[in-house]
């Protein structure tokens, strides 16, 4: 191989005061000199000249395998090609296996599995699978918080949501969805719909068992299958549900006060 660099910065041959490799030195040979603009807009603070980090002034000396301290800092990491009794490494490894095998009968730390589905670990509150629609009270239709504003439909990255708003007898929007479908074969559970919803109407579920025998219609969840009560939301994520309740209550009170004020002004 021909000389590729003017100054190869190879381990061992680096002198502290040597000029660091610049981008032009990294070109393949003398004939093709790439000119790299280091100051591309967007690269904030390109470390001037010191593109390789041992040139960074206050860099902590890096760890080298060949010159590694043996005791203390790095545990039992052995040196490269150390002298040891042939076979001792294998015996040591088998001791670890044995410790784990016997330990799994006594130590919970070494046996972390449970007998699913008889035993199930409760997922953390923030856990998410696919979205559901929250309704207040007992009536899934009347209590639905969704006002068919289409925000989640627009923001959904894979466009899994499809909403058709209800209209009243005069043709005005009735602020509730007529159709609210989520295709869960498309939904990736990213929770952006729940994040952008201004009415806290759509939240993330914990339910994971969506398998069905039929591939198409049964994976498009409609309004009835998506609607779940606020009480259910409290059982899966009480922290968020309580916060949402407080927020909605405060909103309601504010609106109530404004209405009274308007009525008094009249």
């Amino acid at each position: 191989m021909t000389q590729l660099y003017q100054q190869p910065r190879i381990n061992g041959s680096i002198q502290p005061n040597q000029e660091p490799v610049t981008d032009t030195d990294m070109s393949l040979n003398g004939t093709t000199k790439y000119h790299h603009e280091t100051e591309v807009s967007g690269i904030a603070d390109p470390a001037p000249a010191n593109r390789l980090s041992s040139g960074v002034p206050d860099a902590v000396p890096e760890t080298r395998l060949s010159a590694r301290p043996t005791a203390g800092e790095y545990g039992n990491t052995p040196e490269r090609r150390p002298f040891r009794l042939p076979g001792s490494g294998i015996v040591q490894g088998m001791m670890v296996t044995a410790r784990n095998w016997f330990g799994s009968y006594f130590d919970r730390k070494r046996l972390v599995t449970v007998q699913y589905p008889e035993q199930q670990i409760r997922p953390p509150e923030n856990s998410r699978s696919i979205p559901f629609l929250v309704y207040d009270g007992d009536d899934p239709d009347a209590g639905l918080r969704c006002v068919a504003c289409h925000t989640c439909e627009k923001e959904c990255p894979p466009q899994a949501i499809s909403i058709v708003g209800e209209r009243d007898e005069n043709g005005k929007p009735a602020r509730r969805p007529k159709v609210f479908d989520i295709d869960i074969s498309v939904c990736m559970g990213c929770q952006i719909c729940a994040e952008v919803c201004p009415f806290d109407a759509i939240k993330m579920d914990h339910y994971l068992d969506h398998s069905s025998l039929e591939n198409f219609q049964s994976l498009i969840l409609g309004k009835t299958r998506l609607s779940k009560s606020n009480a259910y939301f409290h059982t899966i994520n009480s922290t968020d549900a309580t916060a949402v309740d407080a927020r909605l209550e405060a909103d309601r009170k504010k609106k109530e006060a404004a209405r009274q004020k308007r009525a008094a002004a009249k």
Binding site: G42, I43, S53, T77, V112, E155, E195
Partner: protein, 383 residues
């Protein structure tokens, strides 16, 4: 772009059974190819003469999709690039959008990002060790020990971001939500227990004679070739090149933490494995310091817009040191809600370019180990 190996060496006229070469197609469905990755190997006996990687089976058109959806909607797609390290992917993308828009990140969010990125590095390298040992024939044991430990980190991710792997957590100018109650204490426990696991893993594997003979001197590359091919991450540092973007760019607040960069000297599979083991120890140092020092405060810049983001015209390249190497996002904005150009610089793909050079002259069984030591994720290679 499916490459067909040159078969002219097997002509019928000059067929010499002793000198006959064998073409072997490994994958795309193969337990040791880490996903849908195919290698067309040409073998002389057991020795690799030629090797052509074939990939693209998992191509999802991520870059073009991202040019057609809003800036926010690309974040969950970046989770699926390198699905083992979704949080660092999020960070790299958020960083480039922040450069594009000139957004600042609050102090607490910077700490959260560092904690999550280093936890990601821990769990990625833990899984890497398990997979690498699986490729070497220690199938199951090391992988399960690694996964058992990694699951503790993933539990932390799930209780914070809602998902073990598809986190969708970083936002432009901050993070999506704050830690739930008791998260930091739980994280501290996991971090305190980690050295015990690393010691055990080292006792199990690193001094093992079989492992040493399978890795030392296998798949070595020179630092010149590594730089020329654009390698980055632990593979580059294993060859002895001191280049870590955490030290070079000092993005985020990495300059506040004291940590060292492990450097190898042979550039072989053993060094690449040791880089990961040592990096985990260094990550633990950063994590401990970050968890102790994390301040209170807001987690997202109040000026940041979640929806209808229209960055000013311009371009930006944000890059971070992901566990696999330099992960960069290049964005061009023309003041529309969608980026005009969206380009990913995937470390897995570029690190894969030297696979043939590393493999030639070694036995076919070593190719698996070499591929495992590069640590690719096909979601990122194919995009």
């Amino acid at each position: 772009m499916i490459a067909i190996p040159d078969c002219s060496f097997n002509t019928t006229e000059n067929r010499d059974p002793a000198a006959e070469l064998l073409e072997l197609s490994l994958g795309p469905q193969h337990p040791s190819t880490h996903g849908v990755f195919r290698m067309n190997a040409v073998l002389d006996g057991e020795t690799v003469v030629r090797l052509q990687p074939v990939f693209g089976y998992l191509h999802r058109n991520h870059e073009k999709i991202a040019e057609n959806v809003s800036y926010l909607a690309s974040i969950p797609y970046t989770d699926r690039l390198d699905y083992l390290c979704s949080l660092t992917n999020n960070w790299a993308y958020a960083l480039s959008v922040e450069k594009l828009t000139g957004l600042d990140v609050p102090e607490r969010a910077e700490y959260i990002r560092i904690i999550l990125a280093e936890l990601t590095r821990l769990q990625n390298h833990t899984a890497f060790l398990g997979f690498l040992l699986g490729d070497m024939g220690a199938w199951g044991t090391a992988l399960m020990y690694g996964f058992r430990q990694r699951e503790k980190v993933l539990d932390l991710f799930e209780s914070l971001t809602g998902s073990r792997m598809m986190s969708n957590y970083m936002r432009f100018g901050g993070c999506r939500c704050d830690f739930p109650e008791g998260w930091l204490e739980q994280a501290r426990t996991v971090i305190d227990e980690y050295p015990e696991f690393l010691d055990e893993m080292e006792q199990l594997l690193v001094s093992n004679e079989i492992l040493i003979s399978r890795t030392q001197g296998v798949g070595a590359i020179s630092p010149e070739r590594a730089i020329n091919a654009g390698l980055s991450g632990p593979i580059l540092r294993a060859t002895g090149v001191d280049y870590d973007i955490r030290k070079v760019d000092r993005y985020g607040i990495y300059d506040r933490f004291s940590f060292r960069i492990p450097i190898g000297d042979q550039g072989d599979t053993y060094d690449r494995m040791m880089m990961r083991l040592l990096e985990m120890r260094e990550s633990l140092k950063i994590l401990k310091a970050a968890i102790d020092e994390i301040p209170d405060g807001p987690i997202v810049n109040p000026k940041a817009k979640l929806r209808n983001l229209r960055p000013p015209e311009g371009e930006a390249y944000g890059r971070i040191e992901s566990p696999k190497g330099e992960l960069g996002f290049y964005l061009i904005s023309d003041k529309q809600p969608q980026p005009y150009r969206f380009r990913v610089r995937p470390p897995s793909l570029i690190n894969l370019t030297l696979l043939e050079e590393m493999s030639i002259g070694h036995k076919i069984a070593d190719v698996m180990v070499i591929l495992g030591s590069i640590d690719i994720v096909l979601g990122e290679v194919d995009r």
